[in-house]
């Protein structure tokens, strides 16, 4: 107990005792009036405040005693507060009890660790995925570029004599072979035509990914009636797209397999590389027909959606 605490206690007790004696009461009489044990009055007067128990009792008893003997309650309470600065309020945790249960608060730390763990794993997964994709993309680009180089080189070499331009260009797997056809007839125009074909083949090669050299297939459509027609090559490039008028014919040439959509299949005859082909019955849906043309020139039904997706 501090020095000031001790002096406040004795001052408290002395003032109350003086007031009691001034009021002409004995200790026993005071205790009787207050209905308390005389020990409590004695304890207050001698400054033995621990006997009174918890602060709520001590303050209560001091207030009642002060009121009885005519002392100032607030001053007595101030003295009490000064004297018991060391007395802590009752510590209710000192109760015998079993091991503590886990509390929601205890879950915060493991929860945070778990969250951080998830975040780290997620980041690693994302980084790995993103590294793998660019690594595969350049490879494809490189292979496509090399194919294009090849075709350009071959075209350049053979274009000078002016003779085998078409065959070479065809071997390079370009889809724009139809443009080249007139060029083959005249040696004078062979050079620019070959150059143009070379540039076009380069573009085509860059655009096409698999760049699998395959023999192009020529399709010829003769229209007995008006018919909507769409033709795509193996790379999804549009070769024909539009309405074929009755009495006309159109030609498409491209790397197989070609995908063909006919709006009015009954009014069209199809020739593959000059020989007439029959549209398979399974390919027809009402008036329309969807079929593919393979490398060998056979017509096969196509079960995919309108755009055909991938065969």
């Amino acid at each position: 107990m501090s020095e000031t605490g001790a002096s406040a206690r004795s001052a408290l007790g002395a003032r109350l005792r003086t007031a009691r004696e001034r009021a002409g009461l004995t200790l026993l009489q005071a205790a009787e009036r207050l209905h308390v044990d005389p020990r409590i009055i004695e304890a207050i007067e001698t400054g033995d405040l621990e006997t009174l128990g918890a602060a709520v009792y001590a303050r209560g008893h001091i207030r009642r005693y002060a009121e009885l003997v005519g002392e100032s309650v607030s001053e007595m309470h101030d003295l009490y507060a000064a004297s018991v600065e060391s007395i802590a309020p009752p510590d209710l945790t000192k109760v015998p009890h079993a091991a503590r249960r886990s509390t929601p608060g205890a879950l915060v730390v493991p929860g945070t660790v778990l969250l951080i763990g998830f975040a780290v794993v997620g980041t690693v997964w994302w980084v790995l995925n993103n590294v793998r994709e660019p690594a595969s993309a350049p490879q494809e680009a490189a292979s496509a570029a090399s194919t294009a180089d090849q075709s350009v080189a071959v075209t350049a070499d053979t274009a000078v004599p002016g003779s085998g331009a078409i065959s070479v260009v065809a071997d390079a797997g370009t889809a724009s072979a139809t443009d080249v056809a007139p060029a083959a007839t005249s040696a004078t125009t062979a050079e620019p035509a070959a150059a143009r074909t070379a540039s076009e083949s380069e573009g085509a090669a860059l655009a096409s990914r698999p760049a699998q050299p395959a023999r192009p297939v020529e399709l010829r459509f003769r229209f007995a009636e008006d018919c909507w027609i769409e033709v795509y090559d193996v790379n999804g490039r549009q070769l024909l797209f539009g309405l074929g008028m009755a009495g006309t014919s159109r030609t498409a040439r491209g790397a197989p397999p070609l995908r063909v959509v006919l709006g009015n299949a009954a009014g069209v005859t199809v020739e593959v590389d000059g020989t007439e082909a029959v549209i398979p019955r399974a390919a027809r849906r009402g008036r329309a027909a969807r079929f593919s043309v393979g490398e060998t020139g056979e017509l096969a039904e196509m079960r995919a959606g309108p755009m055909g997706a991938v065969n």
């Binding site: 209560g60 209710l92 109760v95």
Partner: protein, 347 residues
């Protein structure tokens, strides 16, 4: 799930959902709200029925002074819910007010103090209305337990401590030891009954009608529970029943003492009954240390003297008796984490 998440951004609350006043204690902050448990609602058929216009002290000023389309109601009666919807709305308003304007809707852990004598149905209603007001989890503790802890009684000791909590609707007396209730008794008598007794007395003896608010003012200013040396007087106005016009008259503290006899005697008998029922060892401890008074009723002048004379035991009034229950609830919330939920008779 989201309630739980939001809970991390909300503070734990201890709510003393009293008949007269609602107090909220926020952990680590203290008492942050002390408002009358009154709600004022307005009829608005266009917006789907009733709309709350005021809660708390603002609504209390409207009590007995409302026009036809506004009703000021006290949703709690005798310590329990009388109107579920309004209680929920009121709690929601108070909880939001305590949390201030936040981005997240608060979802605190809430401890509600209920009268010891409340039934399971009443407790369930309080729990559900607190949950409806956004509480994440609701713990329920008996009012006398919270009052004793809030008053600073050494309830953890193996010694008897007796507490008498006189609230607005109920009075609770309990003997506690080792963080538990040994005996408790609840009488549905409190500050409201005092007001009612004063209103009845004035009507009977003066033929004048006064309102609840006036009766409460009389009780606070000149009410006393034990004949004192000085007599206080107060001039009040009310409606004369025979003439039908407002009249002014003067009341003194002795008349109010007489008016309060009936409810006071009921409280005294509840205390005596508790002393009778207390096991002798604990009774001896109580006799030595005394009875501690808490609750708004403890502020009635000389009520400690009355109880001292009637029981022959020392009776002391706790510091700040009005907030004891809310403070005790807050302390229990803190201790709940340390000791586990098996103490203080928590539900």
């Amino acid at each position: 799930m989201f309630k739980r998440l939001r809970g991390y951004f909300s503070s734990d609350l201890s709510i003393d959902l009293g008949t007269a006043n609602t107090l909220i204690y926020v952990r680590d902050k203290g008492i942050v709200l002390n408002e009358p448990s009154v709600v004022a609602v307005q009829d608005e058929p266009t917006r789907g029925g009733k709309v709350i216009v005021a809660v708390g002290s603002e609504a209390k000023n409207m009590l007995g002074r409302t026009p036809g389309h506004i009703t000021a109601v006290r949703p709690m009666k005798d310590g329990v819910i009388a109107d579920f919807t309004y209680t929920e709305k009121m709690l929601q308003y108070f909880i939001n007010k305590v949390h201030g304007n936040r981005l997240l809707k608060p979802s605190p852990r809430v401890l509600v103090c209920v009268p010891f004598g409340s039934t399971q149905v009443e407790r369930r209603a309080i729990r559900e209305s607190a949950e409806g007001a956004g509480a994440r989890t609701v713990a329920i503790v008996s009012e006398p337990m919270a009052a004793a802890v809030g008053a600073g009684l050494p309830v953890h000791e193996a010694r008897g401590s007796m507490v008498l909590d006189i609230g607005g609707g109920t009075s609770e007396v309990a003997v506690l030891s080792l963080n538990g209730i040994v005996y408790a008794n609840s009488a549905r008598i409190g500050g409201d009954r005092f007001d009612e007794a004063i209103m009845n007395y004035v009507r009977r003896n003066y033929g004048i009608l006064i309102g609840e608010a006036t009766a409460e003012r009389i009780k606070i200013e000149i009410g006393s529970a034990y004949p004192g040396s000085q007599v206080r007087e107060l001039s009040v106005k009310g409606r004369n029943l025979s003439e039908g016009v407002p009249r002014s008259f003067t009341l003194n503290s002795n008349e109010i003492l007489e008016a309060l006899q009936e409810p006071l005697q009921a409280i005294v008998s509840a205390v005596k009954q508790a002393l009778e029922q207390t096991p002798p060892e604990l009774g001896a401890d109580v006799a030595e240390r005394g009875i501690v008074l808490t609750g708004g009723g403890a502020l009635l002048r000389d009520i400690d003297k009355l109880l001292t004379e009637e029981t022959g035991l020392p009776v002391v009034v706790a510091d700040d008796p009005l907030t004891c229950v809310a403070r005790g609830g807050g302390r229990i919330l803190e201790l709940m984490d340390e000791l586990g939920p098996g103490h203080f008779g928590l539900e």
